[in-house]
Amino acid sequence: MADQLDLLWPVLIPVMTAALAACFWYNIRAQRIISFIGLVLLFAASVKLTMTVVEHGVIAKQFGGWAPPFGISFVADPLAAALVAITGLLALTVGIFGFYDVRARHERAGFYPLFHGMITGVNGAFLTGDAFNLYVWFEVMLVTSLGLLVISRSREQLDGTIKYGVLNLFGTILFLIGLALLYGATGTLNMADLARVLPGMTMTPGLMTAAMLFLAAFAIKAGLFPLFFWLPASYHTATFAVGAIFAGLLTKVGVYATFRPFTLLFLIEGETLRYVFTFIAAMTMITGVFGAAVQWNIRRILSFHIISQIGYMLMGLAIATPIAWAGASFYIIHHIIVKANLFLLAGAIRAAGGSDDLRRTGGLLKSHPWLAVLFLIPALSLAGLPPLSGFWAKFLVIDASLRAEYYGLAAVALIVGVLTLFSMMKIWMEAFWKASPVTPSRRRYVPVAFIIPIVMLGAVTMTIGLFAEPFVTYARDAGDVLVDPPLYIAPVFGAEAAAEAGALIAGDAVEAEVIETDLIENGADDGVEEEVR
């Protein structure tokens, strides 16, 4: 049972780090030390959690000794555990990058407490098995990320933060209303309990509304079409370290949160919902990649690519076969590393060339050739070229879409891949290949603190690309848990309850079509209990 405590540390360590850093408000040196120790411990704890999940399968923990569904459950399935591990890695690398990038005035404004507070929110959101608790972690994440976004207190940052804050607050409110409806209908918000109760219930208009509110709320968080415009308006204003951690993690928490209810709670067997997801996935991919084409600021280009890449992850939800889920899980993990690395590289390009506007920089191939190589690793991976991690990620989702006969979606994914390559080449041509438009007054150096994390993340990308098999196997496991709710229910409520729920879901899948047509034809007749075997 001691293994279950592994679930606690990825949340408790950053909380304690944030709190201790705040205790030493005036002692910046102490804060730096505490922060770094916290990051190392967090990384170790998150790796430990993943190893435990690999060994024992899904694990769950009740806090405060309260029985489920009354206490708050934490559940780690393979997807959540992997995301926590990646968060640990990313926090550590961005922490190293921050040695140089985080200025003294940022530190005095509370960078370390806010940074670790945000990591707490992210890990909490990944691990919680309680829908209301998920809302709480979203709030933690939102408040701390707002603080991190305005940390320089410039006019530009304030503008970005307001756009970011207003839309995300709106999203959280939608989520809260959805939760209220769901609680009113079911009387529980524990996700495993909901997964147990919901299959036996008729899909009333109230439940349908709750599902749609969840979709809208998480669509804002994840940056899905058409609710993504806050993202490119804000991310490029953040400092480079903050931008990288935002780009890597925040939208992916939204994607993860979209996956949870639509795998555990609401069945997506019906044609209508699938059609909606397919449409959103395709549009997210297309609008993102075209948005990037007209930009010149490196991080704005990359911000639009976050959106288009999220479309690929959503393909998992649209196709919803086990292979598609595996592909989507693999995609999220690959994407977090690559995207954060590209944002860090934007910082390095700026340090080397003096600007992050492509029109005002250039000639870096001659002055910093190794930077060009380091840039190509995540850039080509993002575009999906073999043998890098992005190739396997794209291969898995496109393969899944072809097998499930979603030919249109597969075509869109391939075309968007080519356009992504074009966009990455644009950055490469402008920043590295072409001659610099301004004669540099002095030789610029890229600090070592920038290079270490970029090399680390690049090495991970290469490793996933060259030795893809264990990662694909792991993603398969993650996909299997996502399609099979009883696997998620069992650690919380025991095998018996899980088997019952499994029987309900199996019965329900047959009747899903019936309910679907029922809903369309005569609304839904609430109150009438559906007889399910």
């Binding site: 408790l12 709190a19 850093a21 705040a22 030493f24 408000w25 005036y26 405060g64 000794g65 407490p113």
Partner: protein, 139 residues
Amino acid sequence: MRSIILVASTRIFFIAMVVVSLWILLRGHNEPGGGFIGGLMGAAAFATLAFAAGVDDARKMLRIHPAVLMGVGLVLAAVSGLPGVVLNGSYLQHQWLELDLGLFELKLGTTLVFDIGVYFVVIGGVLSFMFRLYEEEQG
């Protein structure tokens, strides 16, 4: 603009509000109250002081930076769950100690540590933006 009546009455109000907030904090476990509400009242006491006597006086009265108070509170709250890990293997499972003091029975629990932590976090959190808002208003 500084009103003499407000300044004079604030001294009494401040003490009264802090005492009441502590009382609400302590009665909290089985009756309405607790760290959150107590903390809000405590923050209101400091806010009143800042309003009447100026932010500098209020900051002096608080002695430590509000963010530090938040940090200390968060540490207390987080640590209060650890005894449960050691004794029951369950984080935040609170442990109770019952003392018979002759006249009455005193029940002390790790929940009290948690509540005091919350009390500090709320005071620190509210005051860290309240002070800044007042400072901007006063120029």
